[in-house]
Subunit: 216 residues, 2 copies
């Protein structure tokens, strides 16, 4: 996978006298500009287009700032924010895997681990380890912060779908029960937010915004 | 200014039984979706379009995570990240004021304070005060965290302009000295990053990527 990938920073190499550690950091920071070009399924509220991963990550961070009080366990806001900021970076090389696409989900973990290995290796080693540790923490959901970060990752598109009066809830073959099942892990972090999320899904179902989206 | 503004959340009102405090938080979180639609002058590296404020805010947060070690004074990463996440929210109502547009700069502060008053008032009062305190801290630059956050706000477009081999450096009437003057406050937070920033500006000038952009 690493063979022959051209880095964005190679388009305009940094001056030769830039110090090596900083060059690696700048190279990584330029490479992750691509997060702005990875489209998700969710529709924006403010414009007629789909959301990209950078916008999504920023939005999750805002949610952490404002909804942390609903976590069932105390969480460190600054740390949780870091988890959501980096959680989708691996999609730069692995691509976005839609929540309701079970076929793409089959080798998702393998593709994402490969992507993490390659992308984080651009950083100085100590920082590569730190970012990898954050990503592993998010994926494993063993800390209250990681559970809350993941809950935001499920709740945010739910808000966007509500606003769009269907959005990805109308994915062919997806029922309101499927939506509830995929979103249930909000409840692992916050019983209050999961109750609110369920209110939106239930009311959306009553209004015909989910389910009966046609054949899968 | 507040008279008759239609909120985004009014497009699809939340269910009537959603608890009031959470309703205000969700309303705010939907309203700030507009940050994704506010275009800046800076060109992306990864696509042929301009960057929006949400993408920019996310990118600054990544820079804080990875470049905090260069701060001349110790900083709290989690807190600095919160400053950059919220620093442009007021542009949702005040609009973006380009760095090299002195005419728009005249009443910028007034417009932005009005915007902050209106936007943050959507939140529960305790959170409105907290977000306002973060924004004031960023604007006043009296803490090491705020100085570093502001430095990232100056350094990030510099990286994008470097990659674009001119970008906003070619704004009509703007010289390389203007660029250096506008970017100098990077040095208030980090002498090392300001040295690197100056290397990029100086080398850009040598290559003809800044200045002589025609009449103002």
């Amino acid at each position: 996978m690493a063979d022959g990938r051209r880095l964005l920073a190679d388009k305009t190499p940094f001056p030769a006298d830039l110090e090596e550690r900083m060059r690696r950091q700048f190279t990584f920071l330029v490479e992750v500009d691509q997060l702005k070009s990875i489209l998700r399924q969710s529709p924006l509220v403010s414009a007629e287009r789909r959301e990209n991963d950078a916008e999504h990550s920023w939005h999750l961070a805002m949610m952490v700032l404002l909804l942390a009080e609903y976590s069932d366990e105390p969480i460190d806001i600054g740390h949780t924010v870091q988890l959501v900021l980096i959680h989708d970076l691996i999609e730069i090389y692995a691509g976005d895997t839609p929540l309701y696409d079970s076929a793409a989900g089959v080798d998702q973990r393998e593709r994402e681990v490969e992507a993490a290995d390659e992308l984080f290796a651009l950083l100085p080693e100590d920082q590569a380890l730190r970012v990898r540790a954050l990503w592993d923490e998010f994926e494993e959901r063993r800390t209250p912060e990681a559970r809350f970060a993941k809950a935001m990752d499920r709740l945010q598109p739910l808000l966007l779908n509500w606003m769009a009066r269907e959005g990805t809830w109308k994915t062919p073959g997806v029922t309101a029960d499927d939506v509830r099942a995929r979103k249930a892990l909000i409840g692992d972090a916050s019983s209050v937010l999961w109750e609110a999320g369920r209110q939106l899904i239930d009311e959306g179902e009553r209004r015909g915004w989910s389910g009966s989206g046609g054949p899968a």
